[in-house]
Amino acid sequence: MRFGVVQFPGSNCDFDAIHVLRNVMKRDTEILWHKDHDLRDVDCVVLPGGFSYGDYLRPGAIARFSPLMQQVRHFALTGGLVLGICNGFQILLELGLLPGAMLRNRGLKFICDSVHIRIENGQTPFTRAGRKGLVLRLPIAHFDGNYYASRRTLAEIERNGQVIFRYCDSGGKVTGEANPNGSLNNIAGLANRRGNVLGMMPHPERASEAALGSEDGRLIFASIIEAVEARPPKIKKGTGNRRAGHDR
């Protein structure tokens, strides 16, 4: 399978995602430039973390207008897998592919830390290698991760099983103390109704190698690979065999 990582001006976790996908998960990974109009036949689009357009106006508010995002929207609406990490999550919210919005963290400070999250739905292409109730330890690093939605939307996403991850303590208990940023219902990760688009504030790409202290993040990427590779092979168009660009 092939991943595509979108590069916006101001993305700064793009190379981290590319590194993990290529060198740890050993999958072809395309770098997709935001000004392009072609998704290059990838099976999963990753919107990486960072400060696209400097977070000016609102995080993700400008990136959603990048030319490539029209393709991403189409790709998502036709069932393509899209993973938004941190700023990528914020962009998905701005794009309207996911419901709700992000507010400034409750403490009004940027937070970089390790947190625990609990898998709430193990039936998605992003969590199928895990199971409901499993606790992962992943880093967060954001200023605007305080998830907010109207009461009605909140009830709806809860009812539909769209809440994929919740902040919890190390034992898996969802508590106010374990909520780092004030997110409603401790929401750390959210999918669309169809389950093919996931936004999450924690950074799985920062926890995919033992040398960095946690490998829990691999579960997300392994799930995606499993989901894609279990599908019947599709007929590829285009030239294929593109050389993967070079990693720094």
Binding site: P9, F51, K109, F110
Partner: protein, 736 residues
């Protein structure tokens, strides 16, 4: 037309002015005077420090670039080089803490990527007044969020640093920013304007009126009124810098440019004259072509603006279009604003008139150098010996009080605001002895640390500076890294005062001597004078940044205990030394010497034993002893341990118990190992002539320390941890 008043505004003496007239062969106009004034300011010209800095050893194994460029460069094998430097942004951070600190980060980042290196780590050395003061808290909040705001956004992890508090910094905080980058060894770029006729391209942000005379401001004391200097502080735009970073690295990677220099202090003036001077050429600039943010800017303002996120690039006529295409891809302007000449002069035109015509060599290299008078300060003798003191009864309570001194206490409140993991290389996060980042694809890692105990350097500048070097190297040894090179930031008061100059001379002597002894080159740094407000100088504060290499990342150490049941070994010797200690300051309210003695030979051997033990895989944890002595080190090792492991320590020593517990004798490292391996570690120590003893075991939920069978300290881990953890945050409003 240039009168005393104007000279005063430009911080130039009449003597300096007549030198300028001689070098020019005529009177300068106001713009030209402005150019000389910034380039000959203390900040850019190093006029009071240059003679002393010559004493620092700059050559050494692997040095590809020493002082004189934007940053030092050292070969680390695998065709890679590390590029690193530290710089101060003290004055702006006092006037406008957020932007002052943010643009400090922006500036040091540019120094690194100007050389062709991708910045991979940031660190900061911060000094503030006591946290009890509201002003300090507001400055600290601003500085920390400024560093976070810039570093986080641009995606370079802030992996470490140090923070200390003392009333001498209340009105003059120190913000020293360190950056390290990685480059391919054969792709280092220099600030040179080669080849007459080549185009000079301006890239990045537009020029505005911000930061005019920032360098001059940093070269004078502050009086009561600083509010009006706020416009001298630049405003940072990390997003613009991120674009600039990516675009610059792309044109470098593609081999499209000949030379490049960032516009930092003294902006366009500094970059153009330095590039020409280094290449022995000249530069011609049309100021009408300089992108401007505001209307009606004068040549004076354009030349002296310190607007951020700008670079000057020299390329060939053939590659010009390709360079511009790369910048266009990143949505950045890149107009040609001039060309390289062979005249040796900087000539600038504005509205078809020549407004500047100065010899670049005079501007860059002929700044007057002063050997300013020095005098032994009176306080030195007054404070050289602390009085006899009773040993406190309750040493457990003393331990807890020390752990909650902000100098020793946990600094997570600060570094939790910094993205310290982006780029996925951070192996040892902030808080340890050194930060450690891996080098992808090599199996190696880099360790780095910032160090400086300004109470030591206040009491005994030379000894204190030597200790700073020794301790920085010890910090590296504690993680298993061998030092590669040093950068330093020398923060002092007004050099025109003989007592300050004496402190400076002594400190530089100490650094030079210690670096020479350890055989580590000083590849660059920064001097910040005039750290005085209302006549009150900060403590002399040399901050040492040392970078080291870990050859095999699997063979490195961490400060936290690895688990219960390990042997605790103390390398080095504890003497009855309380002078200059945090214990003396916090518990007894005394700031007096003598500072701990440093035996360089012993220091080197202690570090060698630690390194060999780590490299042999014997060590489960290692932590160097610093402020708060043995007791603080044991507590910190417990706090950093997996699952909070305490320890039980039995000492055999006849020295006073407070010195035993809290004294800051140098050349000591705490290591732990499996009980079966302790013999090997002790043998290694003996072979190297290092005193070493097994002093206890890890385990339990307490820290218990006894000496000669008598229990001195017994504290519960939970309480100790919460005291240590909450000491800093309690001063701020916090929500989880």
């Amino acid at each position: 037309m240039i009168d005393k008043h104007i000279l005063g505004q430009h911080n130039l003496t009449e003597e300096e002015y007549s030198t300028i007239v001689n070098l020019m062969g005529r009177e300068p106009n106001l713009t030209e005077l402005g150019i000389f004034s910034v380039m000959w300011s203390e900040h850019c010209g190093y006029k009071s420090s240059r003679l002393y800095l010559k004493k620092l050893p700059t050559a050494g194994k692997g040095v590809l670039q020493g002082p004189g460029e934007n940053a030092g460069v050292i070969d680390i094998g695998d065709n890679l080089a590390v590029v690193f430097k530290i710089e101060s942004h003290n004055h702006p951070s006092f006037i406008e803490p957020y932007q002052g600190a943010a643009t400090g980060v922006g500036g040091i980042l540019r120094d690194i990527f100007t050389m062709g290196a991708r910045p991979v780590a940031l660190m900061d050395s911060l000094r503030f007044g006591p946290l009890e003061e509201p002003l300090t808290r507001s400055i600290m909040e601003g500085v920390v969020s400024g560093i976070a705001g810039y570093g986080n956004s641009i995606g370079v992890p802030t992996v470490g640093g140090e923070t200390a508090f003392h009333s001498c910094y209340s009105l003059n905080p120190l913000v020293n920013v360190f950056c390290l980058g990685l480059a391919e060894k054969d792709k280092i770029f220099l600030a040179r304007a080669e080849g007459a006729g080549n185009p000079v391209i301006y890239v990045g942000a537009r020029t505005g009126r911000d930061g005019i005379h920032g360098a001059t401001m940093a070269s004078a004391e502050f009086g009561k009124e600083t509010e009006h200097k706020r416009p001298n502080v630049q405003v940072g735009d990390p997003f613009k810098e991120k674009l600039l970073l990516e675009a610059c690295l792309e044109v470098m990677d593609k081999g499209l440019i000949l030379g490049i220099q960032d516009m930092g202090a003294a902006g366009l003036t500094c970059s153009s004259t330095e590039m020409a001077a280094k290449a022995g050429t000249g530069i011609e600039i049309n100021l009408d072509l300089v992108p401007q943010r505001e209307e009606g800017m004068t040549p004076y303002e354009i030349m002296l603006s310190e607007s951020q996120e700008r670079m000057l690039i020299v390329t060939t006529p053939e590659k010009k279009a390709e360079v511009q295409a790369v910048f266009a891809k990143w949505d950045l302007e890149a107009p040609v604003i001039g060309r390289v000449t062979d005249t040796g002069r900087l000539v600038a035109s504005f509205k078809n008139q020549i407004v500047v015509d100065v010899p670049v060599n005079a501007v860059v290299n002929l700044c007057p150098v002063y050997r300013r008078p020095t005098a032994l300060p009176a306080y030195i003798q007054r404070n050289d010996r602390h009085p006899d003191l009773p040993v406190p009864d309750d040493l457990s309570a003393v331990t807890l009080r020390l752990l909650s001194s902000p100098v020793i206490a946990d600094k997570q409140w600060i570094f939790r605001q910094y993205d310290h993991m982006v780029q996925t290389n951070t192996v040892l996060p902030p808080g340890g002895d050194s930060a450690v980042i891996r080098i992808k694809g090599t199996g190696k890692a880099l360790a780095m640390t910032l160090d400086g105990n300004s109470l030591y350097t206040y009491l005994e500048p030379k000894a204190g500076a030597m200790i700073a070097v020794a301790e920085a190297c010890r910090n590296l040894a504690s993680v298993g890294a061998r030092p590669l090179g040093v950068t330093n930031c020398l923060n002092f008061g007004n050099p025109e005062k003989p007592e300050i100059m004496w402190q400076f001379e002594q400190a530089v002597d100490g650094i030079a001597q210690a670096c020479r002894f350890f055989g580590i080159p000083v590849t660059g740094g920064n001097v910040s004078f005039y750290n005085e407000t209302e006549g009150q100088a900060v403590h002399p504060t040399p901050v040492l940044g040392v970078v080291g290499l870990i050859k095999d990342i699997r063979r490195s150490a961490r400060p936290g205990f690895a688990g219960p049941g390990d042997s605790v070994i103390l390398l080095g010797e504890t003497k009855e030394e309380l002078g200059g200690s945090e214990y003396l300051r916090t518990i007894h309210g005394i700031e007096a010497g003598p500072v701990p003695r440093l035996d360089l030979e012993l220091e080197k051997r202690v570090q060698e034993v630690c390194l060999e033990a780590v490299e042999a895989g014997l060590v489960r944890s290692a932590h160097d002893l610093a402020e708060g002595g043995l007791a603080a080190a044991l507590a910190e090792s417990s706090f950093y341990s997996r699952g909070m492991t305490g320890c039980r320590i039995e000492l055999e020593s006849a020295i006073r118990p407070d010195a035993l517990l809290f004294g800051e004798s140098q050349s000591r490292i705490l290591v732990t190992c499996r009980p079966g391996k302790s013999r090997l570690v002790l043998e290694l120590a003996e072979k190297n002539g290092v005193p070493a003893r097994t002093i206890g075991r890890t385990g339990g939920q307490e820290i218990v320390i006894s000496s000669e069978g008598q229990e001195l300290v017994k504290i519960g881990l939970e309480e100790a941890y919460s005291r240590w953890k909450n000491a800093v945050p309690q001063f701020f409003k916090t929500w989880p």
